[in-house]
């Protein structure tokens, strides 16, 4: 079966630093994949290339059979790739509702009233309705993460790239976010999740890919990856792995 997203021999260099060293990865529709690795292993670089923020130094990314090289992030978003950022990028001086409307209104076929109705529906799901008219600057860190979720939901994405969505989030809110991710995935979206929170990764994902120094060192089900000596070595050092 043709993968929904295919990454082939992908490399990325920043000057003398090789952040990705010719990796091959593919994702089937509806997968929920965790992407882990120590700091500097290339996780966010990979997401930035998939999302169109970085140009790859070599290799290719193929979305549903079409190469995405050179496409702008906005084009990729319209093709169905939604993403959140490690540091939230909510529009602080806009209201929560306006934040939600930006992505929906980028689709000129959608009227303002339809976009508004859709936004209210998503805000209700995320329990943010009472904050709809508040400026996004008044949100807590966790609520801002939820708002980013909401903005992505407005795009009806096929693939969702989540970069550290649980960083600094209260445990109760984190559980709520788990539920939303699972619901999203069950509705058919492919989810690629970066997190340093191993509990979240191993609890949520059915497949875990581990990167270290720009290479894939493990790719498989959570149990196999958890016990992989290369993964233990990458995280804890040689003597622990032994």
């Amino acid at each position: 079966m043709q993968p929904q997203l295919d990454i082939s021999n992908l490399s990325k260099s920043f000057g003398g630093l090789q952040a990705l060293k010719g990796i091959d990865l593919s994702f089937q529709k509806g997968e929920l994949v965790g992407l882990i690795g120590p700091n500097g292993s290339g996780k966010t670089t990979l997401l930035n290339i998939i999302g169109g923020y970085y140009k790859a130094s070599g290799g290719a990314v193929t979305l549903e059979g079409h190469k995405t090289d050179g496409l702008a992030p906005s084009t990729l978003a319209r093709l169905g790739i939604g993403r959140s950022f490690q540091v939230t990028k909510v529009f602080k001086r806009l209201t929560v509702l306006e934040n939600m409307l930006v992505g929906a209104l980028a689709d000129w076929r959608l009227s303002r009233s339809s976009a508004r109705d859709k936004a209210h529906g998503v805000l209700e799901k995320l329990k943010l309705t009472r904050l709809a008219d508040s400026p996004a600057s008044s949100l807590s860190g966790g609520q801002a993460k939820l708002l980013e979720f909401g903005r992505i939901m407005m795009l009806d994405p096929k693939i969702v790239l989540l970069d550290e969505p649980f960083g600094g989030v209260h445990p109760e809110l984190k559980r709520f976010m788990y539920e939303k991710i699972v619901e999203w995935n069950e509705a058919g979206a492919t989810i690629i999740l970066i997190s340093h929170d191993m509990g979240s990764i191993f609890g949520l994902c059915r497949r875990v890919v581990t990167l270290s120094y720009g290479d894939i060192i493990a790719d498989g089900d959570p149990e196999t990856v958890r016990n992989d000596p290369a993964v233990l070595e990458a995280y804890l050092g040689d003597h622990h792995a032994a």
Binding site: S74, F85, R93, L94, E98, A106
Partner: protein
């Protein structure tokens, strides 16, 4: 409608009454120039306040609109309105180009690039003596033959109100929402499917087109244009007007333009010191009231209301 909006409408209503209640021609002339600055300051605010893109080429764009309008009238023998529209189009297209060229520039780099563009335009106009008469200036035909100060005043009042209303219409549309999202975070906006390249360039083009309109009207009103209307000193006026009025809102900036022009005339005895005073006020406003005089006034009336 809030109390503040009613006060603003009251000001516009009062402005419409002025020629009828016998305001001296000198002050009508001053207010007409104030309305020119209102258009210019609000066009600058459209770009800086809503899209977060700095530009110091607004006065030069006004000059471009003026020179294109005058020169096409002179050399192509076009009537005033089509030549004015050509001036608007020229300023808009050049703005679009600058917007596209400076897509990846921010802050000081963007500011310096726009200064360079502005200066290139001013120097070109000064150097092309055969075409523009250089620093001696060009005699310009009037907008309407035989029209008096009151007629010009009403034309400028209508143009300023129409420009600000058009800007507000644009800002309340989905395009205005894209502009503000870009100001907040470009990557975040792009991640939602908004074509940041297109809207950033277009914002520059819209802003400079309004400046071109202001410049064209100004040229046919004062009937003599020189490259000094494109100078950095003129840009300084526009900047002070927008900052003191409140550059986060096109309406505040427009009122700032009129207010400062009135003050420029009222404080004429201070000579060049007026500019230093305005500079100090602008710096203090940025520090203590970043929404400007009218933003501060709106907050005050909101609290009282």
């Amino acid at each position: 409608m809030t109390l503040f909006h009613k006060v603003l409408l009251g000001f516009v209503g009062l402005a419409a009454m002025l020629p009828l209640i016998g305001v001296p021609q000198y002050w009508l002339y001053t207010l007409t120039i104030g309305l020119y600055y209102a258009m210019l300051a609000s066009s600058w605010s459209l770009l800086v306040g809503y899209v977060g893109r700095i530009s110091f080429a607004q006065a030069a764009m006004s000059g471009l609109g003026a020179y294109v309008s005058v020169l096409t009238g002179m050399y192509l023998d076009l009537p005033v309105i089509p030549s004015l529209l050509l001036g608007v189009a020229a300023a808009g297209v050049l703005g679009l180009f600058i917007g596209w060229l400076t897509l990846r520039l921010h802050g000081a780099y963007l500011g310096l690039t726009t200064i360079a563009f502005g200066e290139i335009l001013r120097i070109t106009v000064t150097a092309e003596h055969q075409l523009t008469q250089g620093s001696r200036g060009l005699q310009v035909r009037p907008l309407i033959e035989g029209a008096g100060p009151a007629t010009y005043y009403y034309i400028f009042l209508a143009a300023a109100v129409a420009s600000v209303l058009l800007m507000l219409l644009l800002l309340r549309s989905r395009i205005g929402l894209f502009f503000q999202a870009i100001r907040e975070d470009e990557d975040g906006t792009a991640s939602l499917g908004v074509n940041v390249t297109l809207w950033k360039s277009l914002a520059f083009g819209c802003s400079t087109a309004f400046a071109g309109l202001a410049g064209g009207l100004y040229a046919h009103f004062v009937q003599l244009i020189t490259p000094s209307m494109m100078s950095m000193q003129e840009m300084g006026y526009v900047l002070a007007m927008a900052v003191i009025g409140g550059f986060s809102n096109v309406v505040y900036a427009a009122f700032g333009g009129v207010l400062l022009q009135i003050l420029l005339e009222a404080l004429r005895e201070l000579g060049e010191w007026r500019l230093a005073v305005f500079g100090i006020i602008a710096i203090l406003m940025l520090r203590f009231a970043p929404n400007g005089v009218f933003g501060w006034l709106e907050n005050l009336l909101k609290r009282k209301g």
